[in-house]
Symmetry: C2
Amino acid sequence: MLYNAKQLKNFVYHTFRAAGANDKHATLASEALIAADLRGVDSHGVARLSGYIRLWQQQRLNMQPNIRIEHETPSTAVVNGDLGAGLIVAQYAMDIAIEKAQKAGTGWVAVKNSNHFGIAGYHAMKALEHDMIGMSMTNASALVAPTFSKDRMLGTNPIAVAIPALHEPPFVMDMATTPAANGKLEVNERLNKDIPEGWAQTIEGKATTDNRALKKGGAMLPLGSDREHGSHKGYCLGAWVDIFSAVLSGANYGPWVPPFVSFLSPPPNPVGEGIGHFVGAMRIDAFRPAEEFKGHMDKWIKTFRNARSIGGQPKVEIPGDQERRIEFKRLNDGIQIHPSVLKELNALSRQLKIDPI
Amino acid sequence: MLYNAKQLKNFVYHTFRAAGANDKHATLASEALIAADLRGVDSHGVARLSGYIRLWQQQRLNMQPNIRIEHETPSTAVVNGDLGAGLIVAQYAMDIAIEKAQKAGTGWVAVKNSNHFGIAGYHAMKALEHDMIGMSMTNASALVAPTFSKDRMLGTNPIAVAIPALHEPPFVMDMATTPAANGKLEVNERLNKDIPEGWAQTIEGKATTDNRALKKGGAMLPLGSDREHGSHKGYCLGAWVDIFSAVLSGANYGPWVPPFVSFLSPPPNPVGEGIGHFVGAMRIDAFRPAEEFKGHMDKWIKTFRNARSIGGQPKVEIPGDQERRIEFKRLNDGIQIHPSVLKELNALSRQLKIDPI
């Protein structure tokens, strides 16, 4: 069935309220979560709502966090998320980054003691309205094996960068540092379809096309897939995100990052607090006049869109084009909710005594 | 034949001096260039020296540049390299980034009107001795086709990040945003060996194993190789580097980036000045006490080194391990110079009337 974004946002808002979040936090969380559904990242939208609630019920997520700065300089801060939902904590951190950029030119905030923050691109895009470039990254529980490793050591650790243009829409990249997002294995499993070689390995570290490879103890592969095609570079990218998000902030890193799913326990002997993010904002006119920059971004975007495409292939696109296309369509037509997700949301409404969706 | 690093550095120094560079600039250039040979990136070391000289002879490289700040804020600057060698200009920019980080917590410098800067990792590593994280990126002339594109639109645009540890050596990633560096095609050509599918495409955009694909008008592929394995993510990374290096600074971007080789003319109708870099420094203790951070970096590094490796595969390594191993060996044993490079260097010594190597 199709639902409009407002309906869904309203449901998420009341879910967070019923769990004890204040008005501001429930609003922030609902906006960030629905942004994922609108932009086509279904795995990170309302499908995750009951996961947040289950973590709260296990006291692994704080619905009344005292999010605070623990240390700062003119262009940096470390934020303690007080185990709040990353959806909220990351927005708090991004606001600080933007404020610092207003004064110092740039602002960079490392976050600890947080939780899953939804889609990275949403947080990075917060900078755009201020004529700033936004960046965000987060670590996540270990699913990815570094080059040559049998063990899962890193999350799919995404990087997002949002850059404003003048008349063209912004450049928005938002990418996991793996060939495919984790949710794509499950999509293939539902369709009973093999995955391409280069996405995952078996528990022994062998190449596989099994869509249940992860569930059987295997691992995702870093972007590049194998050594010959640069998997060591994907490993570098994931490691970079892990260190900036967690070692800089004091969160858990590598194999110690707590899982988002409530049926898996956090690893013993934590090396930090919660999961970590790293966000940043750079004022365009800290480098050159904003209009001038944005005019060149328009030219950059048009030039790349006009690259000749290979026969039989789609047109060349700009990072963010696909998500915008989906958002436009879903704002008009509504958002399709999978029956299994709908069932979970209905259970939530009964449990928390809020109006069904 | 084997040469020691000091001999080579001395030769590079005198070459730059003979071309009119002052003592400081010739020193900086020779150190950066030899760092590439020491770290095993032979394509970016003395093998490029005669290329710099040819560009200078064509007045496309200025040996007496007035490198200067054009705009700044507490944490940012734009530097005009005055068409100097990137080897020198990038070090000037990195010094500014470090100075700004000392006061504001972080420093970020976009550079225009520069030239090839050697290996990205060398510049990023300059931050380490100050207990800072260093970053550097640069754009380069277009060799890479974005996903679905027949046209070359981006350089191999590397990203480097250097992060200090306590007792362990630093984490140093330095990666082109393509599966393989451009020079690897030439290595395969010399060995008369096919390249793996996924490195390059033909002029029509078809998959190929031809080691001469680039020379025949084809293109390199972004990291990820094809859409199914995430080439759109490699495209995002290369685009990000291009925009930060050139659109932020006012340099040439995309297909307008001037080539390093003197036998190719710069593209007409430039959209900026020279090529662009982007460098940054972040003071560790702008986030948390440096000792504490570095202690956790040691733990991070040991944990990843101890991941179980796949049967028959090498040990899991940390970004920077391979280069350090090569550097250790070459500092001891000397650096092998290819006969064709040696011939060029001898020609240089006659031409510029300096002592042969």
